[in-house]
Symmetry: C2
């Protein structure tokens, strides 16, 4: 899915919502656990209930990996089930040298056919190349995160420029906004504004709304650009909105509420 | 495997060699491809041929992930096959916030029963906690790497202290040398010396000897401590030393040569 197609979906749905499929086997409603593939059955119902309100799904790979081979099968079925007009993001945060990065890019872009994958920049710009080399795929580079420890290394400053700012500026200069995005933590408006200066034309994937405490209005205020330039993720606030047989209705309701809030904000920005 | 057991193995074998199981399906000798699980059969023969000369095996997870569910099964069989007196390291370079890191730690320490896992520090010290919380397991934190792009962000300097030095110093202060190690790239003696100053008592996993161009003598000169404190990895130089039916003999020979060099260096240091 290219940028204009993604922006087209945002316009059509009046939403820049990404639903995080952090599907924890222990939190799946009991009645689904009797089925053959509870993780897929859970995701399928979540997708059916929310696909009208979101433009992206982001499975968190850790939650599938921990289930072994069966988890990877559930992941594959989930990706195959997601409609083609919705962006699929592997939240994998991989990062390694050339031939290893090459394997990781093949895993997510070819084997599982994701549209996008998150990667960690610690090892340097050359480690991003195998991902970015894929045509019609998105590489989403960790910029600034919202966890307490994000201050430890991302904010080390040289001549007034923090590490995360250099990561974003250098990556944005090398790699165009048509196939690269950044992860930008949502809890601090100031950081979103700084991040936006480093990468004025790139999409941001903002993971902090919901349980991580970000505020949608702040994100839009500091991160919005002409063609939106934002994907805002919510995981637990949507997929665990309910816990019994009508969990999917509750998830749909939670997604619809966020979409409605997004639609209002998009209108405020004459989008 | 705890530190004194690991050091005991190093003494016994006169070796601090780690064999990297970066098993690329395309490079497996043709005669093995007729078997049911060529990746495991390849690893099994490599392990049989090299186990006398090494103290650790390090499967590179990317090479298994790219094969889907079958790859994870080959990985599991490989780990189960490695003798208990040899350290098993998952080269995974994972790094994510609390509940996600928790899943990754369970994957490698519980499901696959690795002794150690490599992790990326970009997101901060708190993201290491779920790994370090595991009893009798090792967390190996990326310090400085040897790829060309390592300069991009690891060497950003604040008051004369590079990012990688802060990563290592801060981690070493918080987390003891009995269950934490660092990845230290091998191509530059100066960096190994700097890294050693940041973490004087921790083991280093040095991945750069062999195809990545590191020199064993330089590594020992700058990194050796009283109980050795080094694991030096070689992957391609060993596992692809041969390419036909006697590939395992060639691998054993390559491992033995490195062990012999290591034994000489250990004696030079009165170990």
């Amino acid at each position: 899915m290219n940028r204009s197609e993604l922006v087209g979906e945002i316009r059509k749905k009046e939403s820049f919502l990404c639903v995080g499929l952090d599907t924890d086997f222990d939190k799946i409603p009991a009645f689904l656990k009797k089925l053959d593939d509870p993780v897929f059955e859970f995701n399928k119902r979540i997708i059916d209930a929310t696909k009208e309100y979101c433009v992206a799904y982001k499975p968190n790979i850790a939650f599938y990996e921990v289930l072994g081979s069966k988890g990877w099968e559930s992941l594959k079925k989930t990706i195959d089930y997601i409609p083609d007009n919705i962006l699929t993001i592997a939240d994998a945060k991989r990062g390694d040298i050339g031939n290893t990065a090459n394997m990781y890019s093949k895993t997510f872009f070819e084997l599982y056919n994701f549209d996008a994958v998150t990667v960690s920049p610690y090892m340097g710009l050359d480690t991003l190349v195998p991902f970015i080399a894929f045509k019609n795929k998105w590489t989403i580079v960790l910029g600034v995160t919202s966890n307490p420890g994000s201050k430890d290394f991302q904010f080390i400053s040289n001549d007034g420029q923090a590490v995360y700012q250099k990561v974003m500026s250098d990556t944005a200069k090398l790699y165009g906004s048509s196939n690269t995005m950044f992860v930008v933590g949502a809890t601090r408006g100031e950081e979103i504004a700084h991040a936006r200066k480093c990468a004025p034309g790139h999409f941001f994937l903002v993971p902090g709304v919901g349980k991580q405490g970000g505020d949608l209005k702040t994100v839009v205020q500091h991160g919005f650009i002409q063609d939106c330039g934002l994907l805002v993720n919510s995981s637990r606030g949507i997929i665990y909105a309910g816990s019994d047989e009508n969990f999917d209705d509750k998830a749909g309701e939670a997604a619809r509420l966020l979409r409605d809030e997004m639609a209002g904000l998009l209108r405020d920005h004459n989008f």
